[in-house]
């Protein structure tokens, strides 16, 4: 009993504290946590952790935060960040099986490595400075080499191709950044409960990083209060999306694997984070509501939804919501405790098959050509099966069209020839004006800035495939510009394909719900997909050959010192005078030739290292010295070979 009281005391204090805050300010800081679980058609399970932290607008002077991380608010204030998104990703999002036309994938399918974009609220001239400072600050905050985005060769300023129209937007990505726990820990530190309590306690590092896809995202935006004297509010959204493979013992390949939270993560939820306003677990099941009735009034039917012939949930959902093609089970984890942990499980009874809704066009990008000189980049857009069913077709002049934006950054050492842009639609080459609605090109400058290409394509609705190819030359880097492991090749960051006329949203028709996760799903988000990162092999010098370096250095030293000694020692004027005096004596071709032959015969007699004038003057003594040197050399050689070899 005493222990119970003891454990309750801090909670009570906290509670009163919170109440005090709530009454003290007009609008309190809010934190909410949520976990969305979703079985995927290819026998995997997606887990999407969603944490939202809101700081209301308040007086910017002497600001104090209760829940909101101070580091972030300082960042926002210092660099005047209007909106920012940072993501760390490992693995590739499988658009074919994991979907491409829902808010979850369009927001959380990120390119490999680190991606950062930010909009600033500063005058145009200061945007680059703010960006550079921001990259350094984030680099320190998240233990990642984001500071490499500082260099003007690695970021770009997209105007409209990125989806956010702003001239104060900067975008950069680091495809080679490895993502690991050292990036997750600082990210977790921003949460009020860290990973000690609540949903985030599920993040067992080995199981989180064992997944097929891992993307940790931080999105923050400022909300203008509109009032004088008040600063702006900040909304910080932190998400972690992992795709896990449940361990299964069944041999049947068409049967979906059954799983539970503890089998996926190796941990269970023991209560919510006390600081969270709401903490829910959602389970989304796709493609299973076509035939069932709409109203779920009766208890039996509701029961049928979560315990039926197809599958079995281990816990009773608190509520069930539905959308056009999916079911959403909502679980409140407040009730769970140490003695009764929350361990949701899903058991499949019958083989079931469904497919995710895909983006209108599926994009792949690849390199063309061979050799170290030139090549081409091609982007292939293929119509997906679900293309016809999708809304968002624009009919202009009696033609039904699909719009697609392509945004791509080229590093400067990939020298793109923009005039070689070729567009093929359904294997027919099209002129630019036919399909290209808008294009914005900013060419790269060697070692100064990267190139950028923004294109808006308007493709006919019945398009089967479209291909875009653009040629480039491979540049040469200076020897100290090569990164470590240069022989791997160089990365071209992912291109972003977005569909401006298509928006994904999931509306569960739930007015009551104040859940930030559901409201973020409800918002219409731009359908976008990132392509693969490309690896361009460039010519690399042979770094791993110290032998060459030693040889060259020694040669240069030898040449330098040899000629220096020669210059210091020889007296050319004297030699010429000597030769002239000799030349007077001997004259004519015959004599010269005979002298030449004599010299040729006499050459080996001359000792190569004799520099005493006495030796040269006397023929006999030089012969003697030569013999001595010969014998000594032979002896030394014999000694050397007999001992060393």
């Amino acid at each position: 009993m005493a222990s119970l009281i003891r454990s309750w005391i801090p909670l009570l204090i906290l509670q009163s504290f919170l109440v005090a805050i709530a009454f003290g300010s007009k609008e309190a800081e809010e934190f909410s946590e949520a976990l969305l679980l979703k079985p995927l058609p290819d026998r995997k399970v997606l887990a999407h952790f969603h944490f939202e932290n809101r700081a209301p607008p308040s007086n910017s002077h002497g600001r104090h935060h209760h829940l909101f991380p101070k580091a972030i608010s300082q960042l926002v204030q210092k660099f005047r960040v209007k909106e920012m998104e940072l993501s760390f990703t490992q693995g590739r999002w499988n658009h074919e099986h994991w979907g491409g036309f829902d808010p979850l994938s369009s927001m959380n399918a990120k390119p490999v490595g680190v991606e950062l974009w930010a909009v600033f609220d500063v005058p145009q001239s200061q945007v680059d400075t703010s960006w550079k400072n921001l990259t350094h600050a984030l680099s320190g905050l998240f233990c990642a080499s984001i500071n490499f985005l500082e260099s003007s060769t690695s970021y770009a300023a997209p105007t409209w191709g990125f989806g956010t129209n702003s001239d104060k937007l900067r975008y950069g990505s680091l495809p080679r950044e490895a993502v690991c726990t050292e990036n997750l820990t600082p990210w977790l530190k921003l949460l009020p409960c860290r990973d000690k309590d609540g949903i985030s306690a599920l993040m067992n590092r080995p199981s989180v990083y064992r997944g097929f896809y891992h993307s940790q995202r931080l999105h923050l935006s400022t909300v203008e209060s509109g009032q004088e004297g008040l600063g702006s509010g900040i909304v910080l959204e932190q998400t972690l999306t992992v795709v896990l493979q449940p361990e299964t013992t069944s041999v049947e390949t068409n049967m979906q694997p059954s799983w539970s939270l503890s089998s996926l993560f190796g941990r269970k939820v023991v209560g919510s984070c006390v600081l969270a306003k709401s903490s829910n677990v959602y389970l989304q099941l796709e493609g299973r509501l076509g035939h069932e009735s709409k109203n779920v009034d009766t208890e039996i039917e509701a029961h049928k939804l979560w315990k039926n012939a197809d599958f079995d949930l281990s816990l009773k959902p608190d509520r069930v919501l539905r959308e056009s093609s999916s079911l959403l089970f909502i679980f409140d984890i407040d009730k769970s405790s140490d003695s009764e942990p929350f361990d949701l499980g899903l058991t499949w009874k019958l083989p079931s098959k469904w497919s995710c809704q895909q983006a209108p066009l599926q994009a792949t990008r690849f390199l063309m050509g061979s050799g170290n000189e030139r090549g081409a980049i091609a982007i292939l857009l293929k119509a997906t099966e679900s293309q016809e069913k999708l809304p968002g077709r624009v009919v202009t002049d009696g033609r039904c069209t699909i719009k697609a934006n392509i945004f791509q950054i080229f590093p400067w050492y990939v020298k793109v020839y923009y005039h070689t842009l070729q567009i093929f639609v359904d294997q027919q080459q099209k002129t630019d004006c036919e399909v290209l609605k808008k294009i914005n090109v900013s060419p790269s400058t060697d070692k100064v800035s990267s190139g950028m290409l923004e294109m808006m394509l308007e493709l006919p609705c019945e398009v089967k495939s479209a291909a875009i190819s653009i040629e480039y030359d491979k540049g040469f880097l200076h020897i100290d510009e090569y990164p470590p492991d240069a022989n791997q090749g160089f990365d071209i960051p992912s291109a972003l394909i977005s569909f401006p006329s298509h928006h994904a949203s999931l509306d569960f028709q739930e007015e009551l719900s104040k859940s930030p996760l559901l409201s973020s799903f409800k918002e219409k988000s731009l359908v976008r997909s990132y392509t693969e990162v490309l690896l361009v092999p460039l010519t690399t010098p042979d770094f791993s050959m110290p032998y060459n370096v030693i040889t060259i250095t020694c040669t240069i030293f030898a040449l330098y010192f040899g000629s220096l000694l020669n210059v210091l020692r020889r007296r050319i004027g004297e030699e010429e005078r000597f030769l002239k005096s000799q030349g007077k004596k001997t004259f004519g071709l015959k004599q010269l030739l005979s002298r030449l032959t004599a010299k040729i015969r006499g050459r080996p007699i001359e000792p190569p290292s004799s520099d005493s004038p006495a030796a040269q003057s006397s023929f006999l003594s030089s012969k003697l010295i030569f013999k001595i040197i010969l014998v000594a050399g032979a002896a030394a050689a014999w000694q050397y070979f007999s001992t060393d070899n």
Partner: protein, 700 residues
């Protein structure tokens, strides 16, 4: 060498003017000495060059794994019996299919594709045309050309490749490893099916492992149209697809439009073939590595395979060798001499153990000869050659099991070992962060575990061509002297232009050689069906008439012109030798082995060439012998003759007109494979040979 020559000229100028001369530097003195005694030195250097070539097997070093990241054999194999049973099941299904069906359609491809997709791979089919290589003179060195579409595509003959891609679970998809198994989808083949079984076993494992960092592509090629062409077609589609509409897509019931998938930059490729029964007690693994123009994959790739095959899976590993050399008695005698010398050296100093047993020497030389020959020919020795065009390191592994193909009991063990070998290799390549670059690209193999690096084998070539500039310089001086004596006109006495007449002749004949090189292309364009023999006759007549026209048009070019118009033969020979030297040196950069074999032929011919008329007139034994030698060498040096002789050495005697046909077919294969050897024969060897002929019949 060129600078020495210049130095020599300067020297001459000064001595003739009689002006006071600065004492020449030692290096110049050495040059003068070498030039003055060029006949002796040329004999010494040439002999040393041949000797250096012969002792190469003694100098071979043991291979070692240079890239530490490879770590071959450090991981335990994860193959289980379940994987092997997957492989066995595929082989059984294919065999059952052959029992019940006739070989038509794409049913076998679909069967393999189904297996792949059941394992969790992305599968697609690719159609291709069997005709590929078309000779075009202008595209000779311009890499693999983009997919040239034929307008009148017939659906009568096309091949279908199957490919499956396993995506690395946590990889970024930037790189991939390709596994190729050729399979004849129409006729089948028991041994070929075994290669599918091995790869399927491996694929089943790779589909569920978590350590992959590079995607794996398994390509089953339609080997009905040869081993090389389907792989080349797939690589062309992979690297330079045509986005334009292709008629080929409409052929057959299989729709392959827009299904081609890629998986990043190819890091390495392995071609697996199973054929024939091993003659030895163990299963035999043959490694083929030579790609076009003597390009080799990185030695580390061979090392990894060799290490795993020998030390882990117990295969008997071998590389190609010239079998006829194994029984040659002269080589055996040389080997015994080297063995004796080695023994003698060891008695003098126990540390000098360079001697190897005569049997090892014989094996090494036979392998070296094969290695040199395959590199010199410039034709890839297997489908792996197609990958080299895209800077991908690739080798072909040919496994010969020791059991007959229908032995069920041995099959399990064979699949397990074969798949483990491939698994280890793929795991090593998968470990690589960078592409292969640590180890050698320029080497000759004398056994699977012994190699000769470029630094060693260049010595033989350097010694062989070293006499050329010396002799050229000495002949030039000689010729200049003769010219100065014969002409009294002071305007013609300008020394520096004496070589111009000779150079004109050399240039004219090189131009002729260039035209003759291009002729086959135009002969191929002649409408109508012609047999290779007729085409070679056409080529021969056109070339010889062109030669006669050249002699007629350019005065002083012909060996039959009058004496006064003709150039001094010594100057002509000097320029010829210089041209041969430049040609050989250039070729040694492009394809070393061709240059080495070419030098063995061309250097003695060029050095020995001298007019026979004075020799016949003088009737001295020495000069007659020299004339006889040069005639023999010239006869051997004629490309067709050399082709016939080498054919004879390999035991296929061809005589008469059929030789022309054979030669034509051989040359056709050379240019179809874009071998630089073809260019060498046409543009270096043939002109130099003609020039030597001119010297031989020089009317001096």
């Amino acid at each position: 060498m060129a600078s020495e020559k210049r130095d020599k000229e300067e020297e001459e100028v000064k001595t003739d003017d009689g002006s006071p001369k600065i004492k020449p530097r030692p290096i110049v003195q050495l040059g003068i000495f070498l030039v003055a005694h060029s006949p002796v030195f040329s004999v010494v250097f040439s002999a040393a060059g041949v000797l250096a070539l012969l002792i190469l097997p003694l100098l071979a070093k043991n291979t070692y794994i240079s890239e530490n990241a490879l770590m071959p054999g450090s991981a335990r194999s994860m193959l289980s019996n379940r994987d092997v049973s997957d492989g066995s099941k595929l082989v059984k299904d294919i065999k059952n299919y052959w029992l019940n069906h006739e070989g038509q359609g794409v049913e076998v491809q679909k069967l393999i594709g189904k297996y792949m997709s059941d394992m969790g791979a992305e599968v697609y089919y690719q159609k291709f045309h069997p005709e590929g290589n078309q000779f075009h003179p202008l595209h000779f060195f311009s890499g693999p050309d983009s997919y040239t579409l034929l307008d009148n595509v017939s659906c009568a003959s096309y091949g279908v490749n199957v490919a499956g891609i396993i995506r690395a679970p946590r990889g970024d998809g930037k790189e991939s490893i390709v596994l190729v198994t050729p399979y004849d989808f129409i006729n089948g083949g028991d041994y070929e099916a075994l290669s599918l079984g091995i790869t399927s076993t491996l694929f089943s494992l790779l589909a569920r492992v978590t350590w992959l960092s590079k995607d794996i592509i398994w390509l089953v090629t339609d080997s009905r149209y040869g081993d090389y062409r389907p792989v080349a077609a797939w690589l062309t589609e992979y690297h330079s697809p045509s986005f334009k509409v292709s008629d080929l897509l409409k052929c057959g019931e299989l729709n392959t439009a827009d299904t081609f998938r890629r998986a990043g930059t190819v890091a390495a490729a392995l071609v697996l073939k199973v054929d024939g029964r091993s003659e030895r007690f163990e299963d035999t693994l043959s490694i083929y590595a030579e790609a076009s123009n003597g390009q080799m994959p990185n030695l580390d790739l061979i090392n990894v395979v060799n290490y795993l095959a020998v030390h882990r899976q117990g295969f008997y590993v071998k590389v190609e060798k010239v079998v006829s050399l194994l029984s040659s008695s002269w080589l055996k005698i040389i080997g015994e001499i080297f063995e004796a010398v080695g023994k003698l050296a060891r008695t003098l100093n126990p540390d000098w153990n360079f001697g190897i047993p005569a049997a090892d020497y014989l094996e090494g030389s036979a392998t070296l000869a094969s290695s040199l020959y395959s590199q010199a020919l410039g034709i890839p020795t297997g489908p792996h050659g197609a990958f080299r065009d895209y800077q991908v390191d690739a080798i072909t592994l040919k496994i010969s099991p020791r059991f007959p193909p229908d032995s069920k009991t041995r099959q399990h063990d064979f699949f397990l070992r074969g798949a483990r070998l491939l698994e280890g290799t793929i795991r090593s390549v998968n470990n690589l962060l960078e592409k292969f670059h640590q180890s050698f690209f320029l080497y000759l193999l004398t056994s699977p575990s012994k190699f000769i690096s470029v630094g060693v084998y260049m010595i033989a070539f350097a010694l062989l061509v070293a006499p050329l500039p010396m002799v050229a310089a000495s002949l030039y001086i000689e010729g200049c002297k003769a010219l100065t004596k014969s002409t009294d006109n002071p305007t013609e006495n300008l020394k520096s232009w004496k070589w111009l007449d000779a150079a004109k002749q050399v240039f004219a004949l090189h131009l002729l050689g260039f035209i003759v090189t291009l002729l086959p292309y135009f002969i191929c364009q002649v409408p109508g069906q012609h047999s290779p023999r007729n085409r070679s006759i056409m080529w021969g007549t056109t070339s010889s008439s062109l030669l006669l026209i050249t002699f007629a048009i350019i005065p002083g070019c012909s060996p039959f012109s009058s004496r006064h118009h003709g150039t001094n033969w010594a100057v002509l020979k000097s320029v010829t030798i210089s041209a041969a030297f430049i040609g050989l040196c250039l070729m040694s950069i492009i394809n070393f082995a061709t240059a080495e074999i070419g030098a063995l032929l061309l250097v003695p011919t060029c050095l020995m060439a001298q007019p026979i008329k004075p020799a016949l007139r003088s009737r001295r034994i020495k000069s007659l012998l020299g004339a006889f030698c040069s005639m023999v060498l010239l006869t051997i040096g004629f490309p067709v003759m050399f082709f016939a002789i080498s054919k004879g050495l390999f035991g296929e005697a061809v005589v008469g007109l059929s030789l022309g046909g054979e030669f034509w077919t051989w040359l056709e294969s050379l240019w179809a494979w874009k071998s630089a050897t073809y260019l060498y024969i046409g543009m270096v060897h043939l002109p130099c040979w003609l020039l030597c002929l001119c010297i031989l019949f020089h009317p001096s």
